[in-house]
Amino acid sequence: MAMRQTPLTCSGHTRPVVDLAFSGITPFGYFLISACKDGKPMLRQGDTGDWIGTFLGHKGAVWGATLNTDATKAATAAADFTAKVWDAVSGAEVLTLAHKHIVKSVHFTKDSNCLLTGGNDKVIRIYDLNQPEEAPQEIPGHTASIKRALWCHDDKHILSASEDRTVRLWDRNIPEAVKTLSFDTSVSSMEYLADGDVVLITYGKTIAFYNAHSLELIKTIVTPANIHSASLHPEKDFIVAGGDDFKLYKYDYGTSEELESYKGHFGPVHCVRFSPDGELYASGSEDGTLRLWQTAVGKTYGLWKCVLPGESAYKKVDYWSSCDYTNKHKIWGHL
């Protein structure tokens, strides 16, 4: 029996949510960080959306946020011209890295020793977090703001997407880009999947997939709306995407067929990411909320519960939360 998707809304931000990232799977589950224009990035439990803490310290909109694999460190990029590194367990600020302009993107290496930053001053920087006073390695080349810079190929290469309408592949030891992809329009988002060596790039209404070494096109999918962000399932079964029309779209990666679309957000969707286990995906929107969506609708996972036929037709569950602003919720289970 087909079920209707029930997205879980995570509130708390007061301005648009512009970036989000999941950690890897840790002994304590996996975690989610959200970057918001209110300057207060938040850490949440990844499978439930429960708020864990807010990183306080930035003096401007936070444009980018990331977690390291074991969710012990967080990094944020902000309009106050700094990138900050945080202890993701205590919430304490560990490092402030001053830049010359708005910072848009931050990314840890797998061993968490280096941080990659990129922003409006057009220069990619690599910081050694064990020697933060040392000047970062700089990789100039882009002719406009950098939207996103990611480590790839076991942290030997860097992929960067810029407002100069290029995506470039760099070797950190070589000053010139190894490969460059040019577009007719701005690239809205970029993701890298190590397993399969795939780069996902969105621009206009297109979701495109490239080989991450050769930057050769694998396939494209054209969607009904301008897409701001898309994510590929870890097992490469599905793609989810969101953009200007407020909806979330789900596509089959193999056939490029549109499987589902979901309404729910009250504003454009700025970021979408699959969880590391692929069981859910999170979306962040102009409406200031994050929403969690099930990949397999109806499955028991996290806060979603599969109600089997034969269970009582109406099951009333009273729920108090000391952390909520609201009072009792009554949640009804239907057959």
Binding site: G12, F55, S90, W304, V307
Partner: protein, 126 residues
């Protein structure tokens, strides 16, 4: 007509009274037992002394904040800023001080919040 998937509860929202990172959570206790590195973890006697000292310092700091209430404080801040204000209260994480009658070069602010990370030192008469 599709039935909606049931939900056990809604995601918990932020606590209005603090910035979170619950120090009693299993993850915190496992990964972050102390915010400052402890000198002799293996030695229970040294640990006890350290804990006692920490508790004493914390109590002193909190009593200092209490004694500051409604007093005129001189703040020395970054960028050679020196301002005076009447202290009201601190927030729980000591991130902001609520002050009144903040004397600034461009006028008096009746009510203001001073960001603690901007403060180098402050002094007052007891």
């Amino acid at each position: 007509m599709k039935t909606p998937v049931c939900v056990v509860r809604l995601p918990r929202g932020p606590d209005p009274h603090g910035r979170g990172f619950d120090p009693t959570s299993p993850r915190y206790l496992a990964l972050c037992p102390s915010s400052l590195s402890t000198s002799g973890e293996a030695d229970p006697v040294a640990l006890r002394t350290e804990q006692r000292t920490r508790a004493m310092m914390r109590e002193r700091f909190l009593r200092c904040l209490i004694s500051m209430a409604n007093k005129k404080i001189q703040f020395l801040m970054y960028e050679k800023v020196k301002v005076a204000a009447v202290f009201g209260a601190s927030d729980i994480d000591v991130l902001n001080f609520q002050v009144s009658d903040l004397q600034t070069p461009i006028g008096v602010q009746t009510e203001a919040l001073i960001r603690c990370q901007d403060v180098i030192s402050y002094s007052f008469d007891m």
